[in-house]
Symmetry: C2
Subunit: 200 residues, 2 copies
Amino acid sequence: MMIVMEKLRKHIEEIIPVSDGEFDYIRTFFTKKRVRKHQFLIQAGDKVPCEYWIAYGAFRAFYIDEGGREHIVQFALENSWLSDYHAFFHQTESTMNVLCMEEAEVLSLTLSSREKLASDLHKMEHFFRMKVSNGYAAQQHRIISLLCRNPKERYEEFGAMFPDIIKRIPKKYIAEYLGISRETLSRIHLAQRRQIPSKH
Amino acid sequence: MMIVMEKLRKHIEEIIPVSDGEFDYIRTFFTKKRVRKHQFLIQAGDKVPCEYWIAYGAFRAFYIDEGGREHIVQFALENSWLSDYHAFFHQTESTMNVLCMEEAEVLSLTLSSREKLASDLHKMEHFFRMKVSNGYAAQQHRIISLLCRNPKERYEEFGAMFPDIIKRIPKKYIAEYLGISRETLSRIHLAQRRQIPSKH
DNA sequence: TCACAAGTGTGATTTGAATCACACGCAAAT
DNA sequence: ATTTGCGTGTGATTCAAATCACACTTGTGA
């Protein structure tokens, strides 16, 4: 649908101005894809030719450890970019899985397209730099949170930062993101509900 | 010293080719600074006008939590870039401290210089994008390590990835980086020495 | 060179969170 | 409409790592 491309344009224009002519060029690099719930966008062991921009829908990117436990690396809702970036940049096999949690529409961008876009249009190089810089700062925040805060504090901070995710995503996955057991998060969550009695 | 600038040029040329003329321009944005052991490069509460490239020396960037405990965000040895990037990008007050651990020489770059350099020279925009992309991937690795691995595994992984840091930096700081208590790391370390008897 | 600080080792004790085990309600698939 | 599975709540138990307490060793600045 046209709407998806228009949405991408809006997203890009949050960082850089884009003329009609430029966007006609930019759009040619992207390929639209519909993804259904429970479908994998990336599976561990796959080559990772693309990164994805989420027009709408919800994904989780997770890593499975030796013991078979899932650990969530990233949640991605609309307007997020998503891939196994290590595998994507180095064109190696993925160590991560990316699974669709809500029916989605995404635009994919291959590495060569991305690099061509960045080298052809200085402003797109700038756009990608800004995006990854923000991601870097956000990840640093998460590292500090993992190092400094206990489960309760991490959950509260997460809730304050991402109220939309708390509402949409099952708690068990929030627990996997925060490095907390399902049960511990349930008890924290209960304690919170006791403090703030329901408003209806 | 000239040598420092030459070293910077080599560092940049690992990513992009740079002509003599270009480098004469690039170098004008950087300011050399000597830093002594125990000196702060950034203190929590300071404005953060610059990021720094380490020509030689060693720094630790750490965050102090409410309980007064230090948590190490980054070690930076020669050829690393270092700042409180959140505060730097947003030109707000630092929440981190950066302390010199070994006499150092650094080149500082203000935010406006950095952005001018990136917008004047497309290839420098590319350079900075590559740098931050690599940092992003490295941080993601660290997050996965914090989520998936126990203290022993984290220490062993760290040792395998950064043998130079293990040698140069006191173990107590490694512990703070890994989110482990000093004592636990000491016991892990002892267990390792028992397994691999000393070679002399 | 001497004294004090910083870093490390090691035992005993405590504790926060994981794990185990089970029940219950709701959503989705047939 | 009903069965199956997924997400959640909750108690009992275990356990890994933090904390506490102290000694020893090394580095270093006056």
